[in-house]
Subunit: 341 residues, 2 copies
Amino acid sequence: MTKDRKGSVNARMVAKIAGVSQSAVSRTFTPGASVSPTTKAKIMRAAAKLGYRPNALARSLITNKSGIVGVVMSYLDNQFYPALLEKLVSRLRDHDYQVLLFTNFGNRDTDPVAEQVVQYQVDGLILASTTLSSELAEICTRSQIPVVLINRTTASDTVCSVVSNNERGGRLLAEYLIAGGHRRIGYIAGIHNSSTNRDRLAGLCSVLASSGLPEPIVAYGEYSLDSAARAARELLMLRERPDAIFCANDHMAFAVMDVARHEFGLRIPRDISIVGYDNAGPARWPSYDLTTVEQPVDGMADATVELLLGQIRGDKKVCRHVVLDGDLVIGSSARRPSDRA
Amino acid sequence: MTKDRKGSVNARMVAKIAGVSQSAVSRTFTPGASVSPTTKAKIMRAAAKLGYRPNALARSLITNKSGIVGVVMSYLDNQFYPALLEKLVSRLRDHDYQVLLFTNFGNRDTDPVAEQVVQYQVDGLILASTTLSSELAEICTRSQIPVVLINRTTASDTVCSVVSNNERGGRLLAEYLIAGGHRRIGYIAGIHNSSTNRDRLAGLCSVLASSGLPEPIVAYGEYSLDSAARAARELLMLRERPDAIFCANDHMAFAVMDVARHEFGLRIPRDISIVGYDNAGPARWPSYDLTTVEQPVDGMADATVELLLGQIRGDKKVCRHVVLDGDLVIGSSARRPSDRA
DNA sequence: CTGAAAGCGCTTACAG
DNA sequence: CTGAAAGCGCTTACAG
């Protein structure tokens, strides 16, 4: 009784057709292994005839390398993430790694993710999720699976991370707003204990403080459209409403701009300035033309993959925290200093 | 010399600690296999102590099922796709399948994708890519890998597909535009030989014809923002410009609305009506509030996964083409029939 | 350069 | 219910 599913042509069959040993077939498909050109040619011909392709899973069993990297990304509605995902997939593929995607686990625990990550023997893990517990990272550390956090950092020295300089970006935006003549600044916060939110806010606050301005008026947007819209309403209904709103990311800024314009009839930037963070896709759509700070997606993806591959190759836990600068991107959603009233 | 990477705790070690055979360990982790409660308990304790997790790859080798489904999605900047991807991942996870993601292969051939798909022994493949050659689908058919096309269909009877009723959607939009008093309708086309583009256009044309109106004025947007913007300029610069533009998807409609408003100073829908297709995320953002036809993402994902799992379970090539209806979603980007001039 | 052999970590008939 | 054994498709020392 033969296996029914899969043509199931394996190295042994190819070997028989080519009149060589199964080892020779294996070597033919192992880059760098020693096979004579003649043998290789015979084997390739047989393989082509049978439609043979080596079973990557069987290979993994021996080599102890799956060629798979797990990417954990809690949600994809913020355009920044799909863009990042595309880059990560590209870079990883350049190095012959495939991507196992974990997303949309909602409120469920990340435990199941951890389970799968370990069971599927991923060679490494990229965590691109602001909301994820550090627990997963720890499980990986214990299982010896290299991990790199992206767009999230941690005090821990046991796990690498790649972020842009959010604190600096926060300062750039704050300085720009102040130069534009703003004095009452609102802040729509992202997820409370995310490092991006913390650092961007810290940047903003440090500049406000050194400029002798009051702390920002904070409302909570939690990085979601709905919460951000609610937070915007809260700020805009204040008796003394802010003259500028700093949103912890672009995704929220879009909702905030829409609430300001369509629910409160405000003109942007005449009546109020709004800035975001990321330079996500729609930030450059003319309807928003958002003033923001770019996150260098390409550079971040490159650095992440480089760090991860370094760890996979065994650079003994050269745990590094990479921080890349992102530029201020000036749009028309915030009053320009030159147009200062 | 022991393997260095991976704690590499395997079933044999667990067996030794628990004082049972390795088979018993395997059975404990195989749902439905027969193990006595006592044995199972001992094993679970040992497993927990060692941090044991079965190696899914080794299991695959035996069972000939990897538990992995490949999802091919050529690009993620159109928000419709990340949304679809999230749903697919969720549904597949509900059935204990992981997702290997293939995306962003740009202009490169899909051959490398095919190669990887086969090597990694995916149990099935979901093709959510309008631009992908049918070649990949064929390779899979030959390799006996179940395939389902989503948001794309084909005349071929050898491969299943799930789409929404694009022809009907095209008609709904056409009827709505005509009811709104529009007579000169422009069409910004998507990728030329994609079934979505073809069917939506066919719906539009059939209604125009039966209403005695001229064919639409066509420009080519290729489902990309830049091309769509160029196409919009082309149409809007015509001496007799259209009074409505039907964009083959929402993603292009956003760019088209922005060109109309910001480059041509047109008011929407007073000066021109614009409709899209998909009801992608930003379509419901107040700055666009697009009149469009919804693609039932949840239903499509459900149907796709169901079809795929059916094939995997061996429903002998019950090749089906599923077509789901999507509703008209009325926004303010097109003149309402009641406001008819 | 080549082949025979051992073994990666599992599952699964097969006996008991 | 349980264990010993065969085997999934491959890689990789080891001899030659």
